[in-house]
């Protein structure tokens, strides 16, 4: 039974393994590239008036405990049409990465949806992807009469753009996955 002798080698090998794999290399931090921290909607009134920004900023990202900081720069004017655009950033990187460009590149997979309570505003898309479906990176916002309410902006990834009503901005049948969702308390006066 000479073969049996070789058996004793295995535990020794094991010890060797243990000894070798115990390295003290410190792990490197993961800087997430896909993180979205900041959504800024810039609303420029047609004609005279003040440009308004709506911002949601979540610097500790989706895993962090802190809620996003919501900022509305001022009140919207009644019965006014605003030209809207978005800037979407990853501010965990320095300098901040512009995610807007990535959405433009994959515009067929993304769509913004807008909702306003108390009919304070209505929205129309002013852009389209390669299939002629809306994206929402450019849009117009038209305010109604004076009042206050909430504007909710949602970015869906891989929505079904051909589902009923989705083209017109109805989120009900859109499906997909929510990438951004922010609500802003707004006063129209």
């Amino acid at each position: 039974m000479k073969n049996l002798k070789s058996i004793y080698v295995f535990p020794l090998l094991a010890l060797l393994f243990v000894a070798c794999s115990n390295d003290d290399n410190a792990p490197v931090p993961v800087i997430e590239e896909e993180v979205i921290t900041t959504l800024t909607a810039t609303l420029v009134p047609n004609g005279s008036g003040t440009t308004i920004t709506l911002q949601s900023r979540d610097l500790d990202g989706k895993d962090g405990p802190n809620a996003p900081v919501i900022d509305v720069s001022g009140n919207l004017a009644a019965n006014t049409t605003y030209t809207g655009s978005f800037e979407i950033l990853n501010e965990t990187e320095s300098p901040a990465e512009d995610i807007t460009e990535e959405i433009k590149e994959k515009d067929e997979e993304h769509q913004f949806f807008f909702q306003a309570t108390n009919t304070i505003a209505s929205f129309t898309y002013s852009d389209a992807d390669g299939n002629g479906n809306p994206i929402g990176l450019s849009f117009t916002l038209t305010t109604g009469s004076a009042g206050s309410g909430t504007i909710t902006i949602t970015l869906r990834h891989e929505p079904n753009k051909t589902a009923n009503g989705v083209k017109d901005g109805d989120i009900t049948n859109a499906g997909g996955e929510t990438d951004i969702q922010a609500s802003f308390s707004v006063t129209v006066q």
Binding site: L4, F10, V18, N22, V30, H157
Partner: protein, 799 residues
């Protein structure tokens, strides 16, 4: 005439060597274990056709032996014959050791398919090969559910985690080929990586009483043994091919074994499984396919006195996860719960896309044993496991094909034990083990690590004794101590570190500041004690009882300590807690067994009190730029669980029989005075069996499975604001689905196709009435129904 001739020859030989053939061959025959003399053993010298038997002192003497080599065969009732050669040079004395412990011999010869139980006084059930083979195309979790009191917690229908008396994951030790499976068993969506095709039988031990198999197994131990190896010159094998309608797939496995009388054996098993999308009665479950490849090989040498085994196992599973279960935020979750159908239903497909898991598990084991006379069996084992786990999420752009999770877990283990069986009524088992484990979380995923890099060291030592009092009473007593050290390197978001208050409690753990993230080095030590005590007593042939007590402590696993982040498949933020300590279980149980000719009954009751029970439950919501998410926190409480498991058989005649298996469990969070989360509800399985050996060995079984609604659950529902509708809605994550009843049918026949080759054909129909249902302990119940009808046809060839 013939006899005369023989006599003549004999005389001739005698005469021709007369001057030398006057030696004595004498000696003693002893029991190998305790050295006691063996009476009435036969000593036969083959080449000169001479017999002798041992006297009351085990002694024998043979005279008039010529010098030279003689072949001796020693035999005794209940012993294996011993064959050897002796050189006679003058008077020769020899002590011959015989193996007299018949059941012990079994252990050696058929280690692996030990018909004896792992334990003597614990609640143990054995699943035999035939039962396991029926589940060849399913999973371990499905097969174990045949044991009353064992259920499962699922993520879909291919990720099935066994649950013993309401406890699962790290609380259950799964042992394959003597190796404790280390495959990231902590998460509910991590199923054990076990290929049933290389399993011979399975022992399920409820409670923590199988101390030799490791500490911390508060829920129980599942021991999977390889198929039996018979020590004779033989070549045999088995192939199983099965096809099924639901999932439109097949599974195939084949195993071949070569054995030699001398003790050598070689075995190889290969398996393949390919399943497409499963379906409910009403729709396809998109992206729920499974691809599995397995291979295992073993070889070794086994005799009574010494031997070794080498074993290697490779298993690769690619598992699709229901597409519709990957969701964005609370709003998507509410839509899923309130919707009657999953959000994504596509036509049947075979491809497995994200979200999916890809797991490769490898086990290498080598062991060596030697028997020492008047002592027992000593064993030394080394094993190594490599678990590589990828999880793919639905991701954007360039990262589309990158895994979201990439964990590599390596485990080395050395253990040694000695079983002392030299004494007639007392047996001891002493052992120790050392384990080193390293987890590496690959940062290339571009996603923050869910589980950090860590090193884990375990050291365990145990002593078990078994005392037999007469033929009907057994006492067991066992003690075990385990030391565990976990040394992790984990990044925390600064905001999370402060939110958890760790900056006040654990400031010294921080080793580097990376701006928004902190690198920390938590090192925790745990000392755990386990005690097991049991008594079994057979009153007579009809009645028997077992009483049992188990104390067991389990250290928190890495997930309970370190989880930190958003889980897309559940749309929840899961948070571990560094403050979590070990949990302690005190479990008492009682078993009553009754058996007469046509009725057998097994009633098992238990009471389990767990201090500092670790569990996860929702504690609130957190707002992120993606919307709101429920936060699930790992916490500790005091819990008590008690339950009854019944299994009853009634044999009407040789052909007809009725079987009932029922289990009920009640579990409470004593501190919060509410029901405990994730506890199986009452279940009763009734089978009507018909079998007839004359009709091609026909076995038919009609099985009714009734699962009642879980009415005791903690209400973790919460209100959430849904911005797109502007409403506050109730997020109903707690209310269990209604009761359900399923009917299953199983039938098989066996044909003799060639000499020694048997073909077994079985038809299995699951959910005969195509009933729509949802199971409370399936995580995907928020999104879709469970499986519809499934026809399974299996061909098994034994050759």
């Amino acid at each position: 005439m013939k006899d005369y001739l023989l006599l003549l020859c004999y005389c001739a030989i005698n005469i021709s060597f007369a001057q030398e053939c006057d030696h004595k061959f004498f000696g003693e025959v002893h029991d190998f274990h305790d050295g006691s003399p063996i009476v009435n053993a036969t000593i036969y010298i083959k080449n000169i056709n001479k017999y002798a038997t041992t006297d009351l002192n085990g002694k024998f003497i043979m005279e008039n032996i010529c010098p030279g080599e003689i072949n001796i065969v020693v035999s005794h009732v209940g012993c294996k014959d011993k064959v050897f050669n002796v050189k006679i040079k003058g008077d020769t004395f020899k002590i011959i050791n015989l193996e007299h412990h018949f059941e012990e011999l079994h252990v050696v010869e058929v280690k692996g398919n030990n018909p004896n139980k792992v334990t003597q006084t614990a609640q143990e059930t054995i699943l035999k090969t035939k039962t396991i083979e029926r589940y060849n195309s399913l999973s371990l979790g499905d097969a174990l559910k045949q044991v009353s009191g064992v259920s499962s917690i699922n993520t879909g229908n291919t990720i099935v985690k066994p649950m013993i008396n309401g406890l699962h994951s790290s609380r259950i030790a799964i042992i394959t080929n003597g190796v404790r499976l280390q495959d990231q068993e902590w998460g509910i969506e991590h199923a054990p990586n076990v290929d049933l095709s290389s399993v011979g039988d399975i022992s399920v031990i409820k409670g923590s009483n199988a101390l030799a198999h490791g500490g911390g197994a508060i829920g129980g131990v599942v021991v999977l043994n390889p198929s039996r190896v018979i020590l004779k010159d033989s070549l045999y094998g088995k192939s199983i091919i099965s096809g099924q309608s639901n999932g439109r797939g097949f599974s195939f496995s084949s195993t071949l074994t070569k054995t030699y009388t001398k003790g050598w054996y070689v075995n190889a098993t290969a398996s393949l499984k390919n399943l497409g999308d499963f379906e409910t009665p009403d729709y396809n479950l998109t992206n729920t396919g499974l691809n599995s490849k397995g291979f295992s090989a073993s070889t070794g040498y086994r005799t009574l006195e010494k031997g070794f085994n080498i074993f290697y196992n490779y298993l690769n599973n690619e598992i699709g996860i229901l597409r519709a279960s990957h969701i964005g935020n609370i709003e998507d979750l509410v839509n899923s719960i309130n919707g009657s159908q999953p959000a994504v239903i596509e036509p049947f497909g075979r491809s497995i896309n994200a979200p999916k898991q890809e797991i490769t598990h490898q086990v290498f084991m080598v062991d060596f044993y030697k028997r020492f006379k008047k002592l027992g069996r000593w064993e030394l084992q080394y094993d190594f496991q490599n678990n590589q786990r990828f999880e793919f999420d639905i991701r954007l752009g360039d990262d589309r094909d990158k895994p979201a999770l990439d964990l590599n877990l390596k485990t080395h283990n050395i253990s040694s034990s000695i079983k002392v069986d030299a004494f007639e009524n007392v047996k001891y088992n002493f052992g120790l083990s050392g384990t080193y484990q390293n987890n590496f979380a690959n940062p290339d995923t571009g996603i923050r690590r869910l589980i950090p890099d860590y090193d884990k060291y375990d050291f365990g030592i145990f002593a078990i004794s078994n005392v037999k009092l007469g033929s009907s009473t057994n006492f067991d007593l066992g003690l075990r101590y385990d030391f565990t050290r976990i040394d992790a390197q984990k990044f925390y978001l600064k905001s999370r570190w402060e939110e958890r208050n760790y900056d006040v409690i654990f400031p010294s753990l921080v080793i580097e500041d990376f701006g928004t993230q902190l690198l920390t080095n938590p090192v925790f030590d745990y000392h755990n004690i386990s005690v097991s005590a049991g008594v079994s007593h057979d009153f007579n042939e009809k009645h028997a009882v077992i009483f049992n007590y188990g104390l067991s402590q389990r250290p928190p696993n890495p997930s309970e300590l370190f989880s930190d982040g958003l889980h897309h498949s559940a749309a929840r933020i899961e948070l571990g807690d560094l403050r979590i300590g070990k949990e302690t279980s005190n479990r008492v149980s009682a078993t009553y067994k009754y058996k007469v000719n046509d009725v057998s009954l097994n009633l098992e009751g238990f009471y389990n009190h767990i201090n500092n029970f670790i569990y996860i439950s929702p504690t609130g919501t957190e707002q992120t730029i993606r919307g709101a998410f429920p936060v699930w926190n790992f916490q500790q409480t005091n819990a008590r669980l008690f339950g009854l498991d019944l299994s009853a058989n009634y044999y009407y005649n040789e052909q007809w029989s009725l079987i009932n298996k029922s289990s009920i469990i009640k579990a409470r969070d004593i501190s919060a005075k509410q029901a405990l989360i994730e506890i199986p509800s009452f279940k009763s399985v009734n089978s009507l069996k018909f079998s007839n050996k004359k009709w091609l060995d026909l076995n038919t079984e009609l099985q009714s499975e009734l699962v009642l609604r879980q009415n005791e659950y903690p209400n973790n529902n919460f209100e959430a604001f849904i911005p797109t509708t502007g409403d506050n809605v109730l997020v109903d994550i707690s209310t269990p689905p209604p009761a359900y009843h399923l009917l299953h049918f199983q039938s098989d026949i066996t044909l003799e196709v060639f000499n020694k080759t048997k073909l077994n054909i079985s038809l299995n129909i699951k959910n005969v009435f195509n009933t729509s249902y949802r199971e409370n302990l399936n995580r995907l119940r928020y999104f879709a129904d469970d499986l519809g009808r499934n026809f399974m046809l299996q061909l098994k060839l034994n050759y």
